[in-house]
């Protein structure tokens, strides 16, 4: 904003104050999920004229959804699973044990950490029975999600 040619005639301190005030107002409105009438009332109390209020509200409405998504993504939560990859292997021998003949799955859960931006994936192996157990439990979770949405 300080580099904008249209605004170069205004005292930079005043500009900063305006920017901070506008930002605070927008963020508070977004946080409270305020509707247009609430915002208008608030701005009227601040003695802004009708035209400016209307301009502000129109701009706000345009960007409201993006603002809500941004605000909703701030905050701590456990690491988030984004994807899964799997590999099916058939073991035939190792140097300790020959003739093993066992299928096994190698599963990688791609995980995103919102704080550090690192991607510490979770890797593990499992047998077919264990994978069936895992999938069974995930399906239970999905079923109870479905039931919850129908309440």
């Amino acid at each position: 904003i300080l580099d904008d040619p249209d605004l170069k005639d205004i005292d930079p301190t005043v500009l900063k104050h305006c920017h901070a005030a506008a930002a605070t107002c927008i963020l508070e409105a977004g946080k409270q999920k305020a509707d247009v009438s609430a915002i208008s009332t608030c701005l009227e109390d601040c003695k802004l004229d009708k035209e400016k209020i209307e301009q502000f509200c129109t701009e706000y409405q345009k960007n409201k959804d993006a603002l809500e998504i941004l605000l909703g993504s701030i905050g701590r939560s456990p690491r988030h699973i984004t994807d899964v990859s799997w590999r099916l292997e058939y073991q035939i021998k190792s140097n300790q044990l020959h003739k093993t003949y066992q299928p096994s799955y190698l599963v990688t859960l791609n995980v995103e950490n919102s704080d550090s931006g690192s991607h510490p994936d979770v890797r593990f192996t499992c047998t077919m029975e264990q994978l069936q157990d895992l999938v069974g439990k995930l399906k239970d979770a999905a079923k109870s999600l479905e039931r919850a949405t129908q309440l």
Binding site: E68, I74, R79, H80, F124, T125, Q132, L134, L138, T149
Partner: protein
């Protein structure tokens, strides 16, 4: 009590250990085992005893040897919980469903538990992908390989 030197006993034990672990590792048949020890020139009775010892213990020996192979953490169990986030410090009046998962894994005799989270659509995607993985063992390709590798 055995009236032989310590060294002899030690060699005896080491010899037996080697014999049993190698035989179990290779999973040799009874006949092959008998042929192998025949070369050592022991009495028939001793040979029979050794064979019995091999047959009785090879399963357990094999499972212990199985623990020695290089391993990644393995699955133990999973717990899940359904959460709905209603508000946070930065945004009020939300409805954000999430599934929180506690994944228990075994790594070299330690159990670790990881807490992870996912959203409903990713959950369905995970289920679909893993069901595909399970289905792979039943395909003709895998069946053929399993048949031919015995």
């Amino acid at each position: 009590k055995l009236n032989v030197g310590v060294d002899t006993v030690q060699h005896g034990v080491e010899g037996l250990t080697y014999l049993l672990t190698e035989s179990s590792k290779l999973m040799i048949s009874e006949i092959d085992f008998q042929d192998s020890i025949h070369v050592l020139g022991f009495s028939d009775e001793l040979n029979k005893l050794l064979l019995q010892l091999y047959m009785d213990n090879r399963k357990e020996i094999r499972s212990i040897l199985g623990e020695l192979t290089p391993k990644l953490p393995s699955y133990h169990s999973l717990e899940w919980r359904l959460d709905v986030q209603l508000a946070s410090r930065s945004l009020r009046q939300q409805i954000k469903p999430a599934v929180t998962i506690k994944l228990h894994l075994n790594q070299n005799e330690d159990q670790t538990a990881q807490v992870l989270q996912t959203d409903p659509s990713t959950l369905l995607h995970l289920i679909q992908q893993l069901e595909q993985a399970l289905g792979e063992m039943k395909t003709n390709h895998c069946r053929r390989i399993v048949r031919n590798m015995k």
